[in-house]
Amino acid sequence: MNKAMGKLAAVLFLLVVLSAGEAAESKRTVVEYWHPNAEAQGGLVVAELVADFNSRSKTTEVRERFIPDMYKGVMQNLQAEAAAGKAPAIVQIGWAFLDYFSNNFIYTNPQTVIDKYFPEDATFIADNFLPNITALSTGGNGDLLGLPYSLSSPVLYLNRDMLRAAGLPENGPDTWESLREFASIIKERTGKYGLYVQEPADSWAQQAIVESAGGKFITFENGRARASFASDEGIRAFGVYADMVLKDKSALHITWDEGVQSFIDGNVGMLYTTIARRASIQKGAKFDVGAVGSPAWQGHTKKLPAGGCFLAITARSDEEKKSAWEFMRFLYSVESVAAWTKGTGYVPPREGVADAPNGLKSFLAENRMMEAATTQMPYVARWASFPGDAGLQAEQALLDMRDVILGGSESARDAMTRTQDEINQLLQ
């Protein structure tokens, strides 16, 4: 009898041990991290960072999920997920959707999570982020919606070989007026296209063009947002851009992927797109490739919308919120930020990375293309973000406007005035 009891006890003991092992294994909280970084846009680094984190963390397992169609796609998927009553733990929110996000979704201020569970990080945000940087991700109510993660600005990539072949200075143009001439000369002398301005599912680059001419995408009147891009300055700037496409035929109107592909293939001389594409362009181009800061219009100071995103905590349960900050803390370490910058071209959002030996010190010394973006940081302003339920519709209206103008079916003046009215109707 005793023997049998002993055996039974042994078996029970074994079971307990086994299940304990299992419990320890499944104790790691699994959370999702959503990002729009395709392989050519930092997707590889995302995968690396996540794998690195997962191999270190004892409490959390992060699963990364790539969402196509940039930040708009992320927003739309987040909306579908919310409709199903679910949410990922951490999401990259594009600057243009800041207001739409804070109006429509549940989020947690990272400082709140820190104060509750991570007293050792209490001053992490204050210590490492400049006030004007945290201001970027602060909502209208003064609440911190998340932490800036990717910071970018539009730069002008140059095919120096082609510029030389066309007899042009290899450092490129510094105003939009001279850029137009450059493009015409390239077209004339080499038969290739002069310029492609990025056309993804957002109007970021177009905002830079309009606002660097003195226009303003959104103005606030008594705290109410109104679209205001159809000012004389805005119309003139967009008109010149359209003329390059339609009259000079020196600029291209094609999709973003096609455009970047064509620059890398050596069929377009200058490419106006985000510094975040630096790594893949540098890797793909078989010619002498350079990058210079965004041009301004004559007599105006350039004003560039901050591109990129902030990381928001959308986790619902306390467990997931804890995991979310643990992962964010890892992403904001000097090494991780350095890896992110090297793999993408985003400007580091936090202090202490650029000159740290374990950060980007040697990298920035070798990569002069990054200078185009780091030196124009003083000109970076907010990406136009239409508030309220109409945010997505307003963004869509801007894309439609771009298609109509560059397709030549409506003049810049008509299309911009009409779209501005439409958006203001939506905003009411």
């Binding site: 291209l252 999709t255 096609e258 592909q261 064509s262 293939d265 997505l392 397709g407």
Partner: protein, 292 residues
């Protein structure tokens, strides 16, 4: 008798429940939502009655999408109904050699996913640096920037979709055409009836059962298949020039999140297709030749 009814019902139950859960219930829900203004997350649904329908029917944008849909239907019918029909006739009655090879070659693309196909086409058709553009350049032509040209974009997207459905349609219609009794055709040949008349007067009527099926499927299924290349290649652009009814419903529902409007458009699309089917039953079905 009553017992039999119960038994019959029980036997239908499995398929009915699957249909119910995945078709009739969502359909009813879509119909219901089409009377509201809603963004899918907001707790408040605002009842607007037939407002969504009225707005859609009066919208120039929807008229444009309707026009696009008709253009797509015409091109798809030409490429995936008329051409395979003639080809099937040629291969079954005229050239009988190498039939197996053609069957395999035409069917092959149908097994490749449309997403993959669309991505391959993004590269092939890149108007500046894709192989087609380069070949055109060698010949001294310049490829049009189709992805941003109204009209051209519909043609190209139809062709990408045809790549997928042509093979299947060809196999189906080949079955129908091969089923036409060879004695009748031989008799006609002996009488020196020209080939084109054999096709129009014998093969066409005698294979019409398959033909009508294919006609309807080409339009209805084609509209759904088109969704993938539109989504991957143009997202309905430039300025909705490549959007069709199915894609536009999706656009309203999941891109700008006007769920009510999107649902209303889906209902309108459904009614449109139902009307086509009704016409088909009313006027064509009666004259179709069924062998048995």
């Amino acid at each position: 008798m009553k017992n039999m009814n119960v038994k019959a019902f029980l036997m239908l139950l499995p398929s009915l429940s699957v249909f119910g859960a995945f078709m009739f219930w969502p359909l009813a829900r879509t119909f219901y939502i089409s009377f509201f203004e809603w963004n899918m997350v907001s707790p408040v649904k605002k009842f607007v009655g037939l407002g969504n329908y009225a707005a859609l029917l009066g919208s120039p944008l929807v008229h444009r999408v309707l026009g696009n849909t008709a253009a797509y239907a015409l091109i798809l019918l030409a490429v995936n109904f008329v051409v395979p029909y003639v080809l099937a006739f040629v291969l079954s009655q005229v050239v009988k050699r190498g039939r197996a090879l053609y069957k395999g070659a035409f069917f092959l693309p149908s097994v490749i996913s449309l997403v993959v196909g669309s991505m391959i086409y993004t590269w092939i058709l890149n108007p500046i640096s894709g192989p087609v553009a380069i070949a055109a350049q060698r010949l001294g032509l310049s490829a049009p920037i189709w992805s941003k040209t109204e009209g051209a974009v519909i043609v190209v997207l139809s062709l990408v979709t045809s790549w997928k459905i042509f093979g299947y349609n060809f196999i189906v219609i080949l079955g129908g055409v091969s089923g036409v009794s060879s004695e009748v055709i031989e008799a006609a040949r002996v009488d020196n009836v020209p080939l084109w008349r054999i096709f129009t007067d014998i093969v066409l009527p005698m294979s019409s059962a398959t033909g009508v099926y294919l006609f309807v499927m080409t339009v209805v299924q084609g509209m759904q298949f088109l969704f993938t290349p539109i989504r991957v290649l143009t997202m309905g652009g430039p300025n909705y020039a490549s959007s069709n009814l199915v894609y536009h419903s999706y656009h309203e529902m999941f891109v700008v999140y006007r769920t009510g409007t999107g649902s209303a458009l889906a209902v309108i699309t459904l009614l449109g297709f139902a009307f086509l089917l009704f016409l088909e039953f009313r006027f064509v079905e009666g004259r179709v030749y069924y062998e048995s």
